[in-house]
Subunit: 341 residues, 2 copies
């Protein structure tokens, strides 16, 4: 062990193969635990020279009644809805919130965490930036025992509670809908392949194909970098294909909107020539012509739930053990996939 | 003078009929001022028992490099754009930002200011809530010498710098456009009449009518409470009018969108039966059918300028004297006002 290194409950937990919450309860001498378990944990804590994090403890006592929120971008309607839910629920419970945006940038995400921790927020709600591919800053938060939860853009290995959508289910719903509307060749336009959400939505897409007895075709999965240029390039490529898809499901509504714009300019009829669907249910998707079939994610509900759970943990109502809350999505069928409308 | 009351530079300035910045320069013994002016100010400061606000001074020296931002709502595309501009410019100058939203609620606006001041932000950028009709909390900030600017939703009496749009000019542009398109009876759908923005846009509307030699008609100005129900009620009332308008200009795009939805459901042809225009240039306005004519407000630019000016003041590059920065708007003519498209 490094000199000056402060042993954390997490390390004790790992050493003994128990949960952090069990360690926490043992050190608080909770009557819920078996005396033998408690004895083992306390012994190990002494052996490892565990010192309770007094700073974290004092913060927990003298609360600022402020929560910090970090989102990738505020201009996204989805994250703005999450923030509204977070704020409304936080206010109900007597908390105020301060929001920082990472601009999808890892460095800024780290700076935001530093800023919010310096202002002594009681806890954090974080949705990771697209760029975030290492997680030291989150493990550091965890080791400093600053409470936080992850929502929507999460990382599976960090032992905190996570609130996500059933992305597999949503992608399954929309692909199944396209197949039920008579499409024989459904394409999936994915985001960057290492994105959690890209993988999950592909999983749902493939599951629906399988349930309809359709084989996966490599040329029917395309990857965009999510820029307008990238999205338009894909839309053009589709039109140049010899064996075109008759239905396209895009990972996000804005991708589908770019595809729609290009196709409309080339005289492609949607849905008659190719049906088109997105995922997110942005406000523009409802008013565009033809209105875009999509999958609705209740961002406001996600924000509310994330705060409720976090404050329950803070108040000792919920256990400190990390849990995973998965919200269901809803198919919103519109004109872009239905010739009969 | 109340016991324990700390005399501010503002009070000295008021007593002598000079600007706060002049007092500030005199107390710093600036060579720019006439010795006689300096002498008078220093004498008055002594007489009034002025004590420099050491807390404010120390804050100015030991900066947190963090700016606080308060907006009415983050879900509004316009305020989200302002925040993007604020953040980008703040980052360029080595600052991070923390954002709070007031939810258009005065109490929450006051709570937000307290939260941000408690976290020792170096300065604030504030856009007032719709409900804000008294201003003690802002005068208190001013008296505590915490630097701030107001943007978009401002209050004229508070002696800090303000960044606004030329609302008169924008409303003039859009009304003139409707008249040039051949409209004879142009209606203005206003927000609540005590809103600064309602008044300014009415001023532009009336100016355009006057320039075209058209008399103001009381029944051609309607007031909505800005709720969807309120907007739809107005849309219905217009259809019931004996002498209907042939062009309608709504104070905000969302109002125009509600009007459009109701009219489309009743079979009204836009623009053939009635031309329709908004103000803000929201993303939905470009994709709705027919696309909505509107006035574009560069929110991103507003945010950038607000930060630049505030940090220039903080760094002593710009004078502390409040200034007013007015940004021009741009007419965005679309299908909803042009039969020839």
């Amino acid at each position: 062990m490094k000199k000056g290194h402060q042993v954390t409950m997490k390390e004790i937990a790992k050493k003994l193969g128990v949960s952090v919450s069990t360690v926490s309860r043992a050190l608080k001498d909770s009557p819920e635990l078996h005396p033998e378990t408690k004895r083992k944990i306390v012994e190990m804590a002494n052996e490892m020279n565990y010192q309770p994090n007094l700073l974290a403890q004092s913060l927990r006592i003298s609360r600022t009644k402020t929560l910090g929120v970090i989102v990738p971008e505020i201009t996204s309607h989805f994250f703005a809805s999450c923030i509204s839910g977070i704020q409304d629920q936080a206010n109900v419970r007597g908390y105020n919130i301060m929001i920082c945006q990472s601009n999808e940038n890892l460095e800024l995400e780290i700076a935001n965490i530093k800023t919010l921790v310096a202002t002594q927020v009681d806890a954090l709600l974080i949705s990771l930036s697209r760029e975030t591919n290492h997680y030291e800053h989150l493990f550091e938060l965890y080791n400093r025992e600053i409470p936080f939860v992850l929502f929507d853009r999460v990382q599976e290995d960090i032992p905190v509670s996570k609130i996500t959508f059933n992305d597999v289910g949503g992608a399954y719903q929309v692909t199944k809908h396209l197949l039920e509307m008579g499409c024989k060749r459904v394409m999936y336009v994915s985001g960057p392949e290492d994105l959690y959400i890209s993988k999950k939505r592909k999983e749902g897409y493939l599951k629906a194909l399988k349930d309809f007895g359709i084989k996966e075709e490599k040329e029917l999965i395309k990857v965009t970098d999510l820029t307008t240029e990238g999205n338009i390039k894909i839309a053009e490529e589709v039109l140049e294909m010899e064996n075109k898809p008759d239905g396209v499901f895009c990972i996000f509504d804005p991708v589908a909107m770019d595809v729609m714009t290009l196709w409309k300019s080339k005289g492609v009829k949607i849905p008659e020539d190719i049906a088109l669907a997105g995922f997110t249910n942005n406000p523009t998707s409802a008013v565009v012509e033809p209105a875009l079939t999509t999958v609705s994610q209740p961002g406001y509900e996600m924000g509310k739930l994330a705060v409720s759970h976090l404050l329950d943990q803070l108040d000792g109502i919920a256990s400190d053990d990390p849990i995973s809350i998965v919200l269901e999505t809803t198919l919103v069928p519109r004109k872009s996939t239905q010739t009969n409308l």
